[in-house]
């Protein structure tokens, strides 16, 4: 059975691209979220095997969403999607419970390697 994924990013462009990369590699995209609070709610509903999480989003940011999700499920597997220059925020996200990160612009091979690391 393929792994299920929840893709969180405020840009449709980024959600589409991440979803395409993962779907082509055999993952099942079970949901998308465009704000941190949507991510928390959808995680609760969908219990995906993996979450890809943007850092800067309206409403609730990605790091706060990680905290909320990990509170619900300490074993949640969350991969942060960061931009260049966000090292400090990535460290904060890892401390909040994210398992790993990839840096935009995405290269499919890097995304897939990071996903494999997170899923172990």
């Amino acid at each position: 059975m393929s792994h299920t994924v929840l893709v969180c990013d405020d840009a449709i462009f980024m959600r589409t691209m991440i979803s395409d990369i993962l779907a082509q590699a055999g993952f099942e995209i079970v949901g998308e979220a465009e704000t941190g609070s949507q991510a928390v709610e959808k995680y609760r509903q969908l219990k995906p095997d993996l979450v890809t999480m943007d850092i800067v989003m309206p409403d609730m940011g990605g790091i706060d969403a990680v905290r909320e999700i990990v509170k619900q499920d300490p074993d949640a597997k969350i991969l942060m999607c960061s931009a260049m220059g966000q090292q400090a925020l990535v460290v904060e996200a890892i401390q909040a419970g994210a398992k790993d990160f990839v840096v935009k612009p995405f290269q499919p091979s890097r995304v897939l390697e990071a996903v494999q690391r997170v899923l172990g």
């Binding site: 462009f13 800067v56 931009a83 935009k104």
Partner: protein
């Protein structure tokens, strides 16, 4: 990965964010002490930057990055709007729009962003240094020369 399939989506979403930037700048002009418009501008420009970087549009990315850096300094310092800052940010928004449109049709090389990039960088330094007056005393040529 064939990025051309995402160009339309990039253009549509960038236009949406740039239109939002106009509204947010007008809102900041009306409420110069407000922080919400600056945070919204930061997020919108950050999103355009991420998308442009993914598409490989280096000049759009660079311009958005400089704009984002200025907005970040303004946001962190809770800096109020000034006429000079608003003028610069409106000009940068227009330049970013042009950059996006040209990049999508493969004309990114025609873009001249050195002047506005230098002005943004200079303004960010002045704001960070607490020199509130911002960019007026910085001739673009000097800024551009310094930037190179």
């Amino acid at each position: 990965m064939d990025l051309s399939q995402y160009a339309e989506l990039f253009l549509a979403e960038s236009r949406e964010h740039l239109s939002a930037c106009n509204q947010l700048l007008l809102e900041w002009e009306r409420q110069p002490a407000g922080l919400t418009p600056v945070s919204g501008l930061f997020r919108a420009v950050h999103t355009v930057k991420g998308m442009a970087a993914t598409m490989g549009y280096a000049r759009v990315t660079d311009l958005a990055h400089r704009m984002e850096s200025l907005l970040d300094v303004l946001r962190r310092g809770a800096h109020p709007a000034t006429d000079q800052l608003l003028q610069l940010l409106f000009r940068a928004r227009d330049a970013l729009e042009r950059a996006v449109e040209l990049s999508v049709v493969g004309r990114e090389r025609e873009l001249e962003v050195a002047e506005i990039v230098a002005d943004l960088e200079h303004a960010a330094l002045r704001v960070a240094a607490g020199k509130v007056g911002t960019p007026a005393e910085a001739p673009s040529e000097a800024g551009a020369a310094w930037c190179r």
